[in-house]
Symmetry: C2
Subunit: 513 residues, 2 copies
């Protein structure tokens, strides 16, 4: 992808135009040991040319018996040209804060790559505070560079402001595939000083703009500009299955009930929904539901949210990135200008900011791997040790939201895994942060309940039919025999379901013969 010789209409500043180089040359500006802040949040707005060339360089070095590894910080997950390529080359020393690439996941779980799973709202400030070491390079995809040097961001913001502010040297990828109509959609807030000089972030409504649409990139730090013309890559959309639709149905019914009881305005409160098919099913459910004048304050704009914007049910959406299926993306890119008043893309330190989430009262809806009978949630680790993706922003939203909802089908892997277990094998969200649990079986409203009351309700409402009596049995025996009876547990068997699965591939107990 060497396009350095082509003239570019995306770089209007003549001085910066002179910094155009090939991706290979730009990758040559990166040294082993560098800590690199890359753009990218889900399959949107990540650099698409330089990481591949960097992976080549790293592979070459390894062929020659030389060490070459870099640390890669991003917004969240990225595409195969970034995570996949660098992981395959064995080029990543430390990766953070979130990933969903199969090759990356494989290496992390083989113990071959260090990965640090961080609340998405923590990343920018930890870097600015100097907690994560010096940022050597910022490698950021953008949509265009204006005459005066201001930069039009790409289809995600993530931590780009922080990478550009903190890195010693900057490489930009200017991707002409990104629609120029993105200009004006972003809102980069430049008022967040580190303590003790922080002042209140003035945001009070999801659609409010508090910053500037442009990324400020100091020209003297730019060491290279690479031209690309490459699409974002997000997963295709799956039509919601029956379980997802039932989960969505339970949530909509519950929200209706909350409105009826006066605990929520008729147009609800700003919606956050995690990435994925269940989240999309909820959004599609809202499209057919009774609520009007909705808003969202979330991480990513998914297919379902575009549907809600198109139908007029959603008046505005705030996020840090697009995360659209190829079909919907094509339609949105063709009409990007029509969404500019209704979509705001922000840095993730704002989209995921605990203070703002609490202030505007976000309704937080996130998926989970498993929950235990007391409502502790595992979002990240299969069988307690194998990381799936990462905690992402779920903690930012769940603890600070007006309401915190976690959802998943009651069973996985053809019923060999129960989502509801006696004790989760890893905790990402403690009982204190989980107010509502939903599976296709039903919804457990845990507000105001003690642990034993929670356990009874979760088993009754959420567990799959096969596992329900087993959980009830565990709880009953725990209530008799537990050391303490506030949160009754039998520690000799609290993780036995996971052990059984690891031994036999099935959480169900086998009949003894």
């Amino acid at each position: 992808m060497s396009t350095a010789s082509l003239p570019s209409t995306r770089i209007l500043n003549p001085k910066l135009e002179r910094k155009i180089m090939s991706a290979e040359t730009a990758a040559g500006l990166i040294q082993s040991g560098d800590q690199i802040g890359m753009s990218g949040f889900t399959g949107s707005g990540y650099p698409k040319a330089v990481p591949i060339e960097l992976a080549h360089r790293i592979a070459d070095a390894h062929f020659r018996g030389e060490k070459f590894q870099v640390s890669v910080f991003t917004g969240a997950s990225t595409g195969p040209e970034l995570d996949g390529a660098l992981a395959m080359a064995g080029g990543i020393h430390l990766r953070l804060p979130y990933q969903s690439d199969p090759e990356t996941r494989k290496r992390i779980n083989a113990g071959e790559m260090d990965y640090m799973d961080i609340h998405l709202s923590h990343v920018a400030q930890f870097v600015e505070y100097g907690f994560l070491g010096k940022m050597d390079v910022a490698l950021v995809e953008v949509a265009a560079i204006l005459e005066d040097g201001r930069v039009v961001p790409s289809s995600s913001i993530g931590n780009n402001k922080t990478w550009v502010d903190c890195a010693d040297r900057i490489i930009l990828e200017v991707n002409s595939w990104q629609p120029l109509a993105l200009e004006g959609m972003h809102d980069i807030y430049y008022g967040l000083e580190p303590p003790p000089n922080r002042v209140p972030i003035p945001l009070t409504k999801p659609g409010q703009r508090i910053g500037t649409p442009y990324l400020k990139v100091p020209p003297e730090k730019i060491v290279g500009i690479v031209l690309t013309d490459s699409p974002d890559r997000n997963s295709p959309f799956k039509t919601p299955d029956e379980a997802s639709k039932r989960i969505a149905g339970h949530i909509l019914e519950f929200l209706g009930w909350e409105v009826k009881k006066g605990r929520m305005p008729a147009n609800l409160l700003p919606l956050q929904s995690g990435v994925g098919n269940i989240a999309n099913a909820v959004l599609f459910g809202l499209e057919e539901g009774p609520f009007e004048g909705l808003t969202s304050y979330t991480e990513v704009i998914q297919d379902g949210m575009i549907g809600l914007l198109n139908s007029g049910k959603l008046t505005c959406a705030s996020a840090t990135a697009f995360s659209l299926s190829p079909e919907v993306l094509t339609a949105v890119n063709a009409n990007m200008a029509s969404y500019r008043d209704r979509i705001v893309l922000r840095p993730q330190e704002i989209s995921n900011n605990p203070g703002i989430i609490r202030r505007i009262g976000v309704i937080s809806m996130n998926g989970m791997i498993e929950a235990d009978i007391y409502g502790n949630v595992n979002s990240t680790h299969v069988m307690g040790s194998r990381i799936q993706n990462g905690i992402g922003g779920s903690g930012d939203f769940a603890r600070n939201g007006y309401l915190s909802i976690f959802m998943a089908p009651s069973q996985a892997q053809k019923g060999t895994i129960s989502t509801i277990v006696p004790m989760v094998s890893h905790v990402d969200h403690t009982e204190h942060d989980v107010q509502v649990l939903v599976t296709e079986q039903g919804l457990a409203d845990l507000r105001g309940l003690s642990p034993r009351q929670r356990a009874k309700l979760i088993i009754e409402k959420c567990a799959g039919p096969e596992y329900k009596p087993l959980l009830a049995d565990y709880l009953a025996r725990s209530e008799q025999l537990s050391y303490g009876k506030h949160t009754p547990h039998l520690l000799t068997e609290s993780l036995s379901w996971h052990n059984r699965y690891l031994r036999s591939g099935n959480m169900r107990p086998r009949e003894e013969s």
Copy 2:
């Protein structure tokens, strides 16, 4: 404690003076099934007369074979006249959000009382949002009632504003033991509307006042006023032991290092420290240390903080309550006016507000029961099931602070319990929220580390010498045999240390003969 006939100089409003009644009469205004918001945060500012009379009423009803129970919400823990008396009478249906009373704890862990452990910052808003049901009664200790009906709060604020705002009827205890010089020390913020109408809380410095020194109590809701003259009751102070001093030493050394590396200003950032002797040891260490111009933004004013104020090292302290030993309390009460410019008492929805804690960059220091090799922290449950006190505000501070430090001696119960374990038996603070772990053995700075790196460092720096090789052995075998190697675990033995303790009273493995 029937003092209704005495004239009172603490009630300057004649209309309200007519509502004075005996504690017994006031207790008669409470019905079985009532949900009562009571004042009290640690042993400060809790009602001291009506709860005892209520306990008598409840006991009488039980003697007659009648049901009588109430739900009791407070700021945090209280004194024996409240929690102890009501628990002994079997009078509590549901208790929240924090307790430390031996009788209460006993009943909760016997499965006889429902207790809900909540982040202290969540309580007020959950009640205001209607998530925890209707508040029937507010029972609040105050220092005085002014001519115009405004109320001078007592030695703690906690959730009093919320109780008074939300309850149908209000009973005030006017405690003449509380110094009148408390007037002007409080700062009650009345700007916190529920979403979608919340605006930024304007607080940017620990000592800043953003509200009014008086509690607004609608006179028409006051159904009774009871006069008391009873002391607050907090635990006596223990001189820091050797382990606490060493923990304090490690933390001070670390903070000095952070200043030297430019990651913190020379006067540090606002300090939060949990309740207890280790926290006090840190504060005493600061008194002898090199830092000047300190501030604190915390839950309680402890002995050590008074020492720092007296020495001039601490310029101001923000909290929601006093929590002083009897000796120090006597001295402070005698000189309360001299502290009025330097101490601010706030509602706990402000003292513990995540957005403010993050904004002003609090250094969070909290105790723990145990931590695992990956840095997950258990603050509440002994052996996973038996609740000690509660999570309190530790989650509010740990996740949102500039830095989150957890501390405890490396061993408990004469070495039969290791504070560092393979896997915690209950999680209150996930690995994502724990940046620094400290025991008397040393300090582990976990920033920027992957789980396996964290494990090596925690074992090396924090574990007790006897348990260190056992933990290293667990980690080494887990790194070989674990299902996933991101967070290696052997689930068949991850909780075996706790099981061994429950079986034998000792986490140490016995020599097989």
